[in-house]
Structure formats: structure tokens, C-alpha cells
């Protein structure tokens, strides 16, 4: 019988991993990811998870070990955050270039300096070009469900790309919610054991992770790009197949809320979206036509969905919990690129918010929508389009 549990985002990830039956887990502790790997260690100890658990001495080794295990055809999982993700950076490209279908949880956390253990998206977005599929989840249930879906996606033989599952540090990793735990037999049916011909095999030896020459390198990179583009359809298929089995759909690459007739649309990642929806509901009651578009996957990037869903909007705001210093937020850059390709001419505005764990309040989201309304009326493109929300220092702008 299905049961519910009152657990945190970290716990939910651990439950999702247990249900996915990985052969090998290799992990190094870092706040705020620790609870996830502590739970997994307990599960290995009590026998409810039959995995080899490698206590590695660094994040670099965590991912390197996962690559080794994946190279013999094992299902592998690791988890990290922030500085740890950066310490893995070499292995991130290695895992994706070698097409190793590893699943990793990343607890989104700011990057030093200054040191901060609190959340923002600068860690994962700085690794956007590492060739991993990046998904951002919003609550504990989605965290659990997306672990299972991530394995199905990564291991799809037409995708064979590692998946980074991003949870907002503390806001999601440490918040307790009621979560429905899927039945093991249903997960087993949804996610059968990983079978691949692309592995080191004692009966059919292979040389993997080789060097290439200029004559071949581009073709390998083209295939990799193509596989991640192809993942878009696989993501949609997995979402609907998951809905059939477990009764929950997350909408595929994006999740649109009250966007159909919205004049003002705010685009966000992860747990901030919940606050945006509450504010959208309030403003709707006051007669504003507003909507919220959550980007679930940053790679592959849902450009078609973004163009389609925002096509009737009169102003679009993008919340970035990151900043590419000297330019603008990375999500904003990606959204603008998609909109320009879609040949839309909707004014866009970038809100840098929630850096280093700063709260994104309902008030600031209201303020954001007010700014969008002003822009939609004046269509003023002269003003500074990159704005820090709740900034406590004087600016010259």
C-alpha cells in the first residue's frame, strides 16, 4: 500500500534513490546536501538499499568513481553542492562527454567568495555548458519523483547523458513536506535495470574515454548535442508515462501557471515559483492579468515552450538567482535568446534576486509585477533592464 511520509527535500531524494536501486553511490559531504547522503548511508546500513557506498575523499573522486562504475554498466548516483560541484567540474564534462548516465543531486548553494552556505543558482548555472541535463525542482514530492525520472531519462539509449537534479539549498533541501512514497514494484516496472551495450564488458572488451583528433572531435560533440536536443521529447514522454503510473505530471520542460491570457509573465526556476504563484493569485483577484512560467529544464532549454506560452504577453520578467558579472542573469540570457529566435518583440526585464540565500518575499514579487506593468505601458527599452531586487546599497542607476 502506498504511504505518505513527512520528510525534507533531502530525505525525498534519498527515498527516490532507494526506489531506483543504484548499484553504486559515491559521495562527499557538503552542506546543505549532507542529509541526503546520511539517509542513503543509513539505508545501506539497514539493508533496505543494496548499493556499494563509496566514502570518497573529495567530490572529484565521487564523480570519477561514478564514471568508473558507470563504465562497467552500473547504475550510479552522487550528490553535491556549490564548491563541491565546482571541484567536480573536470568530471562533469568527462561524464557527459563519455555519455555516462549518472544521476546527481545538487543542493543549490551560493559560491565563495564571500562564503555562504545559503541558496542561489550560481553553482549549477556556472556549469550550464558542462553537457549535463539540468532539471530544477520545486518541492519534496517533485524531488523524489524526479530522481526516478532522471534515471529513466539519463539511461535512455538515445540520450545517454548525465542528469543534474537541482534542489534549492535549505528552502527545499531542509523543508519538511508530506510526500507520497511510490510502491517499489511500480518503480521497478517504470525503471527496469539498466542495460547497455556501451560498457566495458569482460566478454566483449572495449576501450572507453579515448582521445580524439580534430578529424573526429566535432562529430562526437555533434552527437552529444543531438542527444540532449532529443532528450526534449524523451522528457515529455517520461512525464506522461510517469503520470499514467503514479498519477503525477509536472508538465515536461516547463510548468505554466495562469499564463493563457496573461499580460505580465514572470519566469523563474525552482522553489521561488511557489511564491510567484501566490502573488499571481492575489493580483488576479485585484484584476491584474498575470502568469508564472517555471522553467524545469535549463538543458535542454525549452525555447519552443517559452516562445509559445509568452507570445501574448506584454512584458516578461525573469528572476535570476545568479548573475554573470558584467552582463546579466544567465536565465535571462537564455530566455532572451529563445524569444529573439521566436521573433517576438516583448520587452523583458531581469530581476537579480535571492543571492546567497536572501529571501524572495511576496512583497518583492509584487514590486516585480509593478515594474513589468510599467514597462508594458511605456514599452521603455532605454532603462536598465538588469535590476537587483531588494538592494541595500545606493546605486547610480
Amino acid at each position: 500500500m502506498k504511504r505518505n511520509a513527512f520528510i525534507s527535500g533531502n530525505d525525498a531524494v534519498a527515498e527516490g534513490v532507494r526506489l531506483s536501486r543504484p548499484h553504486v553511490i559515491a559521495a562527499y559531504p557538503i552542506t546543505p546536501q549532507t542529509v541526503a547522503v546520511e539517509r542513503l548511508s543509513e539505508m545501506v546500513e539497514d539493508g533496505s538499499l543494496q548499493s556499494e557506498f563509496l566514502h570518497v575523499e573529495s567530490e572529484h573522486s565521487a564523480l570519477s568513481a561514478c564514471i568508473g562504475a558507470s563504465a562497467v554498466g552500473a547504475r550510479t548516483f552522487t550528490a553535491t553542492s556549490s564548491q563541491g560541484l565546482l571541484y567536480m567540474a573536470e568530471c562533469l564534462h568527462y561524464a557527459s562527454g563519455g555519455r555516462f548516465p549518472i544521476v546527481m543531486m545538487n543542493a543549490n548553494r551560493s559560491l565563495a567568495l564571500p562564503w555562504s552556505i545559503y541558496g542561489d543558482h550560481r553553482d549549477s548555472l556556472s556549469q550550464l555548458d558542462s553537457g549535463w541535463i539540468q532539471v530544477y525542482v520545486e518541492d519534496a514530492q517533485e524531488s523524489l519523483d524526479m530522481v526516478i525520472q532522471s534515471f529513466a531519462l539519463a539511461e535512455n539509449l538515445d540520450v545517454l547523458t548525465p542528469v543534474m537534479l537541482n534542489l534549492d539549498g535549505f528552502t527545499l533541501t531542509h523543508t519538511y513536506e508530506l510526500v507520497e512514497l511510490p510502491l517499489q514494484e511500480e518503480v521497478d516496472a517504470f525503471l527496469p535495470p539498466f542495460e547497455t551495450p556501451y560498457k566495458m564488458d569482460l566478454d566483449n572488451p572495449k576501450n572507453l574515454a579515448f582521445s580524439s583528433q580534430p578529424s573526429d572531435n566535432t562529430e562526437f560533440k555533434y552527437q552529444q548535442h543531438h542527444a540532449i536536443l532529443h532528450a526534449k521529447q524523451v522528457i515529455r514522454n517520461i512525464d506522461s508515462r510517469f503520470a499514467q503510473t503514479f498519477g503525477r505530471s509536472y508538465g515536461g520542460l516547463v510548468d505554466a501557471y495562469r499564463c493563457e491570457d496573461a499580460e505580465l509573465i514572470v519566469i523563474s526556476l525552482g522553489s521561488t515559483t511557489g511564491t510567484c504563484r501566490v502573488v499571481a493569485d492575489e493580483l488576479r483577484k485585484e484584476g491584474w492579468r498575470v502568469g508564472v512560467l517555471k522553467i524545469r529544464f535549463m538543458r535542454p532549454f525549452p525555447e519552443e515552450e517559452i516562445v509559445k506560452i509568452t507570445r501574448h504577453a506584454r512584458a516578461i520578467g525573469v528572476i535570476d538567482r545568479d548573475i554573470s558579472f558584467g552582463f546579466e542573469g544567465t536565465v535571462f540570457t537564455n530566455v532572451n535568446s529563445a524569444l529573439s529566435r521566436g521573433n517576438t518583440h516583448i520587452p523583458t526585464h531581469n530581476f537579480i534576486a535571492g543571492l546567497g540565500g536572501r529571501d524572495i518575499s511576496k512583497e518583492s514579487i509584487r514590486e516585480l509585477f509593478s515594474t513589468l506593468k510599467k514597462i508594458s505601458k511605456t514599452n521603455d527599452t532605454e532603462q536598465n533592464i538588469v535590476e537587483f531586487l531588494n538592494l541595500n546599497v545606493a546605486t547610480n542607476d
Partner: protein, 300 residues
């Protein structure tokens, strides 16, 4: 598991590392060939970015006939651990997992992952082929470059005469972990090396072999002198053949008298610039090391 002693007569004619583009006289490739001949076809081999991957692992010309993979430069040992864990979880039987890394990949950038693997007692064999510098990138100084050696980053000039550091003591660093089996070897004493590979393959936990492997290109010696130099370094006492197991060190070879250090050094381009007092210093360091080894280690 074959426990019959492998000798020059009985070793297989099969090649598992074949068609590579290593320099003539390469000590590293000689080590790789023999390691794989001893371990056999049911072996997973990981080699980091370095000479052996550069000469033997370029698509589509892949020179390992068995399962092999390039690891990241720092990640040889961690990748070995992953392969071993994956193979165990998948319930594979009767196989070896071996990593073959150079001196830089082992004593510098890879030492952290190696320490982790030994700490976990992962059942893997780690072999360091030591040619005493970063040869693949063009002969730069590593943590295992000996005192006085000229490299492209420790030039021999009037102010500094080559490397000013002494070789890290990897064998004892590894042994200090309480590793199940560690050994030093030289491609100049192949039977001893073969014996040690065989022994390592039978160890339940982690094993480590540090094999001295001359690089004619980097050392400024003729390509037909590799084996002789690898013998000479042991005979003159600048390298030693030893083992560590069950908390005990053993000297496998304890010469009554050493051959000339000066002759060993002078025969190599990388040491040509050394002055008499440099050579005296090197001899002093050698004598100090041997005094300690003879005093504390078992000798056969």
C-alpha cells in the same frame, strides 16, 4: 586464479598493449606490457591522461586489447574504485582492476584519490611507472624528479642546477596507510617486477607497485639503454627493490657494495651539469636512506 609462478619462459606471447606509438626504448610501455601479460585478459585497466594514453588511446587506433579506459589526471584511483564497486555490485567474477599512472599522476595530482582508495581497502591494483618527470607534456619537474635533474621547468643554470627537491617517498607514504601490499620494482629487474604484479593480483585489498621506468627521450640517453639504466639505478643504490606487507618492510635486494653513482648520473643528459659536490650530496642522501632501511627493514 593462476598462482603458478610466471617466468620469462612461461609468460604469455599474447600482447595486450599493441601498436602504440611510444618512443623507442620507453620504460613505461615496457611496464604496461608486462603488467597486462601477468594480469591477463579479464582485466579492467584505467590509465590517466599521460604518456600511455597519448600513445595508445587515440580513436580509432585503440591499443589495449582488453577493457581499458582513460581516467581524469587526478582520478586514476577513484575511477579504479568505481570500476571495482560497479563490477562487485553487478556480481562479476574473476577479474582484475588495475590503474597504471606516471609519477606526476601518482605522487602529485593523483595522491589524494590514491590515499582514499587505500583507506577504503578497495580491491584494486595501482601501479606507478616512475620516469621522474612529466614526460608527456615535455619533461617538466614532478614530485618524483630527483635532486639535480634537469627538466624543462628546472633548467640547469649557474644559479640553480636542476631540481632542488628530493624525490617524494611514495612507497613509504603508501605503506603508512597500512596498505595490504606495496612494493618497489624496476623494469631492469623484470622477474622481480613480474613476481610483484602476480603477488599484487592475489591481494584481497589494495596493492601498490612503484616501478622505475626510464624515459630515454626525457633523460637524454640512447633508446637501447633503458633496461641497463633501470638495472644500474638499483645497483648503485639510488633505487631499491622492497616490499611492504603485514606491517613489515622487506628489502628484496641488499647489495654489499654499490656501483658508481657518478657513472649512473654522468651517463644521462639530465645530470650532465652536476658538480662534484652535487654528486657527493646525492651519495650522502643515498647512504642515509640505506642506513635507515638496513636498520629498520627485514632483508632477504
Amino acid at each position: 586464479m593462476n598462482t603458478t609462478k610466471i617466468t620469462a619462459r612461461s609468460i604469455t606471447d599474447r600482447e595486450f598493449f599493441y601498436g602504440h606509438k611510444a618512443c623507442a626504448g620507453c620504460g613505461g610501455s615496457l611496464a604496461v606490457r608486462h603488467i597486462l601479460k601477468v594480469l591477463g585478459e579479464r582485466t579492467f585497466t584505467a590509465i590517466p591522461a599521460g604518456c600511455m594514453s597519448a600513445v595508445g588511446f587515440i580513436y580509432p587506433q585503440l591499443c589495449f586489447t582488453g577493457n581499458a579506459i582513460i581516467s581524469t589526471f587526478p582520478g586514476t584511483a577513484s575511477m579504479l574504485s568505481g570500476i571495482a564497486a560497479g563490477a562487485k555490485a553487478l556480481k562479476l567474477n574473476n577479474f582484475h582492476v588495475v590503474g597504471i599512472a606516471g609519477d606526476g599522476g601518482t605522487a602529485d595530482i593523483g595522491i589524494q584519490a590514491l590515499s582514499g582508495a587505500i583507506d577504503r581497502r578497495d580491491k584494486v591494483i595501482y601501479i606507478c611507472y616512475d620516469n621522474e618527470a612529466y614526460m608527456n607534456t615535455g619533461i617538466q619537474k614532478s614530485g618524483l624528479t630527483p635532486f639535480g635533474a634537469k627538466t624543462t621547468t628546472t633548467p640547469a643554470g649557474e644559479n640553480i642546477r636542476g631540481s632542488v627537491t628530493h624525490k617524494k617517498n611514495m612507497f613509504e607514504i603508501v605503506a603508512a596507510h597500512g596498505i595490504d601490499y606495496a612494493a618497489t620494482a624496476s623494469v631492469g629487474y623484470l622477474q622481480d617486477f613480474i613476481n610483484k604484479i602476480q603477488k599484487a593480483s592475489q591481494v584481497e585489498g589494495t596493492s601498490y607497485i612503484h616501478v622505475y621506468a626510464p624515459c630515454p627521450t626525457g633523460w637524454g640517453v640512447a633508446s637501447n639503454t633503458t633496461v641497463n639504466i633501470a638495472k644500474e639505478v638499483v645497483d648503485c643504490g639510488l633505487w631499491y627493490l622492497a616490499e611492504y606487507e603485514c606491517d613489515e618492510f622487506t628489502l628484496n635486494r641488499n647489495p654489499k657494495t654499490f656501483t658508481s653513482v657518478e657513472k649512473y648520473l654522468r651517463s644521462q643528459g639530465r645530470f650532465k651539469h652536476l658538480q662534484a659536490h652535487d654528486i657527493e650530496h646525492i651519495e650522502e642522501m643515498r647512504d642515509r636512506k640505506w642506513e635507515r632501511m638496513r636498520r629498520l627493514w627485514r632483508s632477504v
